[in-house]
């Protein structure tokens, strides 16, 4: 028997005044998976998260958790009754409560003994037992975040939502916190939906990726699939640089300024290729390219060049070949071939 999803969104829409913030969003999240909702700032992903948490109503569609409808246009289960945990971008720790009391806040109905035991377990699991009596303002960013996540998990929610959880942290601390928290969340077996605008972060942590732009879900699936086989240029660019190359398909082959690319199954006619920069390389034979400039960026080179009418920027490990021209070849595997937007 197939395992039912924990979370299902069915054509969810949210309207603020004249503006549609989220339009027809649909996806599902399976138990124990960590999913990332990736999109640029202002694309509606936080609104979507707040609707799942019950902090905003939906104007159309339905949100289900464990198959039970929680939000629809005519009814919204109150946030306190949804069994969904939410960790806010600013952590939202209560300044008048110490770490233990913050974590135990959601356990109001339990006996003191059970409550203490659960708080102690969470303090241990997140390595913050030594901070049990500390006040929130004395904690570092990473410690505050651990407390916020422990607090949200204390009620054993069926689903944990995290809104840009690592955005307040910098550099090495961000990497460390991310790595250790993910390990903890996986240990806890939690089903997690993380909102982020950082593609590298999303690729690094997600089992499932949901790409969002302008209030719409563009694509969802495994991170590698989304990266290698984006369904649109917008989806491709959410996950990193993508060079758009014009092509004409004929007899299962796309003819491009960079050379032929296999396109089995695609109809004949004009198309676009979304090519990741690392798929292009300098070779003895290939398309003639004019090198405009090359800049060393420490761990590699950024090279601006023109092939035919197409200007592109390559990221390479080696410096550009000497001279003003070079031959550019394409690694034809895993190239996304897209129909023209107006086609």
């Amino acid at each position: 028997m197939a395992i039912p999803p924990i979370l299902e969104l069915l054509q969810v829409t949210r309207v603020h005044g004249a503006r549609t913030t989220v339009e027809g969003a649909s996806f599902a999240l399976m138990p124990g998976r960590i999913a990332c909702l990736l999109g640029p700032s202002g694309c509606g992903k936080s609104t979507l998260l707040r609707m799942i948490a019950g902090l905003e109503p939906v104007n159309a569609g339905e949100i289900r958790v464990h198959g039970a409808p929680l939000s629809s246009p005519d009814r919204t289960v109150a946030p306190e009754d949804r069994g969904v945990g939410l960790v806010f971008q600013d952590n939202a720790l209560f300044p008048h409560l110490n770490v233990s009391d913050n974590i135990g806040f959601g356990l109001a109905g339990m006996s003191a003994e059970v409550r203490c035991e659960r708080v102690a377990t969470l303090l241990d699991r997140f390595y913050i037992a030594h901070l049990a009596r500390a006040w929130p303002h004395t904690l570092s960013g990473g410690e505050q975040q651990r407390v916020a996540i422990a607090r949200a998990l204390a009620r054993e929610p069926s689903l944990l939502l995290l809104d840009e959880p690592f955005s307040g942290l910098d550099g090495q601390l961000r990497n460390d916190v991310r790595r250790s928290l993910l390990a903890d969340l996986r240990d806890a077996g939690a089903t997690v939906l993380i909102v982020t605008h950082d593609p590298e972060e999303a690729m690094m942590i997600a089992d499932d990726l949901i790409l969002m732009s302008d209030g719409r879900i563009l694509q969802s699936g495994a991170p590698n699939d989304c990266y290698a086989r984006p369904v649109s240029v917008a989806a491709a660019r959410l996950l990193g640089d993508a060079i758009v190359v014009p092509a004409t398909i004929s007899d299962g082959t796309a003819q491009t300024p960079l050379g032929p690319v296999p396109a089995p199954g695609h109809p004949d006619g004009p198309a676009e290729l979304a090519v990741r920069p690392e798929k292009l390389y300098f070779a003895a034979e290939g398309a003639a390219a004019e090198i405009l400039s090359g800049r060393c960026i420490g761990n590699g080179w950024l090279i601006d060049l023109v092939v035919g009418d197409t200007q592109l920027t390559l990221r390479t490990a080696a410096p550009p070949p000497p001279g003003k021209t070079a031959s550019l070849a394409i690694d034809a595997t895993d190239i996304a071939i897209l129909p023209l937007p107006h086609a």
Binding site: A53, G54, D74, V77, D81, A92, P95, H96, F105
Partner: protein, 528 residues
């Protein structure tokens, strides 16, 4: 977590917090509505329209003079204390706010006794120099001086906070662009602090329009004395309410100015890159001039008049039984009024987060004189007294407390709003996702976080109620005297020696709270 159909939220339900806020708003808006309804009545006293115009003109002059003097004195004092090192600067920083503990009528008693024709200081100077002083205390000018001495702390505190909020970066940028230190004051610091100046001056003017005890004693006839006179001498609530209407209009205007000023303050400077001002040392003459100015201001608002009243206490023959009773009544009204006002203000602050207009309407009473509030409550009081004839005293005290709450709502709302601002929307939402209902989140998170602010609000209200006179005069039960009422009664009989003791008792009761509040304000820093 198991989910049952019972957990579905009925979306259009009026929340408990919004309902409580609506009730609190109705309670404090009642006197304002009462005044407007009363003014529509027909049984007017024989008061000529030109009398109302004359009273209004006097009020306007007084407001203008006090506005100018308090704006200048308060701003200069704040600038000196924030920007420069001079002897006593750290003490002046909080002591300059102490006149807030002194009722304006106590200053009037002190100054009148010193500067009347037979006054001690005037007589002494006349004997010593052979010339009489060229001014009268019992005049608009004298009243403006006394009320300015009483109310300059409103401007001082607002401007001090505004100057402290200014980052030294902008002043340094001005210096780099060719401004001298003095030019930086005129071209940068003052324009940036203009919203605070408007807000502080509006508060001082509101208090001026609301004052009854001082202007009544100095025989300066303002709209507020008109309200009380129409009611007490002519027995006409309708006429009193008509005197009150221009005051209500002025109140709305001043409150709008004050709120607009506060709104502007929030855009001041960039807090993220805020750097504290580093006060500069002054030259040897200038530092003593700065010291003398601050000392003069403090003397005018506290030391000279209150010292004189205290000096004369020896000549008084106190009626201790009456004083003790009045102290008890003052404290009872002050504490009960503070508790009720803070409770109503908290309900309003939490429940009207998305309805700022409702909070603004409820705040309208702050600029409205207590006398006007009392008149507005006379009609509902009459209805209640008719329904329950035996409950006169209890109902009167409850109405009096309601009048205080309506009058002082804005003063309580401001610190409570600021305290609640520490609770971010995400904290409230976090409490909801952790199992609390909306009112449960308010109880578990918002109230505990705002506890300190509620304490501050309570002390401010306590001080104001201890000093309050006109509403108490009109609404108090028979034979229920407060210290302010006793002082006023003695002063009307020209027994200033006797009036001094209740006045000083009010100051002594208020002073610890004022010191606590002003020190707290003096040590506050942006972002704290």
């Amino acid at each position: 977590m198991a989910l049952t159909p019972a957990t579905f939220l009925r979306q259009r339900r009026l929340s408990l917090t919004a309902s409580l806020a609506a009730l609190a708003g109705l309670a404090v808006a009642m006197p304002l509505v009462g005044v407007i309804l009363a003014a529509l009545g027909t049984e007017t006293a024989d008061i000529a329209a030109r009398d109302i115009a004359r009273y209004a003109l006097t009020s306007a002059w007084l407001a203008l003079l006090v506005g100018i003097i308090t704006a200048a004195a308060g701003t200069l004092a704040a600038w000196l204390v924030v920007m420069y090192h001079f002897p006593g600067r750290n003490h002046f920083a909080w002591a300059l706010a102490l006149p807030l503990a002194v009722p304006a009528f106590a200053l009037a008693y002190g100054y009148a006794d010193l500067f009347d024709v037979a006054g001690a200081l005037r007589t002494g100077l006349r004997d010593a120099t052979g010339h009489d002083l060229p001014f009268e205390m019992r005049s608009i000018g004298g009243a403006a001086f006394i009320l300015s001495a009483a109310f300059y702390p409103y401007v001082y505190l607002a401007m001090r906070a505004a100057f402290l909020n200014q980052s030294v970066n902008v002043l340094e940028a001005a210096r780099m662009l060719g401004c001298s230190g003095r030019a930086a004051l005129w071209r940068i610091a003052l324009p940036m602090a203009r919203p605070a100046l408007a807000a502080g001056t509006a508060l001082a003017v509101m208090e001026t329009l609301a004052d009854y005890g001082a202007v009544q004693f100095l025989s300066v006839q303002t709209l507020t004395t008109g309200v009380v006179r129409a009611w007490s001498v002519y027995g006409s609530t309708v006429s009193a309410a008509r005197f009150a209407l221009p005051l209500l209009a002025a109140a709305a205007l001043l409150l709008w100015i004050e709120r607009a000023g506060r709104k502007g303050q929030t855009h001041e400077g960039g807090k993220a890159r805020w750097r504290a001002l580093d006060p500069e040392p002054l030259g040897s003459a200038a530092r003593w001039l700065a010291f003398a100015f601050c000392l003069m201001l403090l003397s005018a608002g506290l030391v000279l008049p209150v010292g004189w009243l205290a000096w004369n206490l020896g000549q008084a023959s106190p009626d201790w039984a009456r004083l003790i009773g009045a102290t008890r009544n003052s404290l009872f009204l002050g504490l009960a009024g503070a508790a009720v006002t803070v409770a109503l203000a908290t309900m309003l602050a939490i429940g009207t987060r998305h309805l700022p207009l409702a909070a603004r309407v409820a705040s309208l009473g702050y600029a409205t004189p207590g006398a006007v509030m009392a008149i507005g409550l006379l009609a509902p009081a009459g209805v209640i007294w008719n329904l329950a004839p035996g409950s006169g005293a209890v109902i009167a005290i409850m109405l009096l407390i309601l009048a205080y709450a309506a009058r002082l709502m804005a003063a309580a709302l401001e610190p409570i709003d600021a305290g609640l601002a520490r609770v971010t929307p995400s904290m409230r939402h976090a409490a909801r996702t952790l199992g609390r209902t909306e009112s449960g989140a308010a109880l578990a998170v918002e109230l505990p976080v705002a506890r300190g602010a509620m304490m501050t609000a309570g002390l401010i209200i306590l001080i104001d109620i201890l000093k309050e006179l006109p509403a108490t005069l009109i609404l108090r039960p028979f034979d229920f005297d407060t210290l302010a009422v006793i002082a006023n009664n003695y002063a009307l009989d020209e027994r200033l020696g006797q009036a001094g003791l209740p006045s000083i008792l009010i100051i002594l009761l208020s002073l610890p709270a004022v010191i606590w509040l002003t020190r707290r304000i003096a040590h506050a820093r942006p972002g704290a």
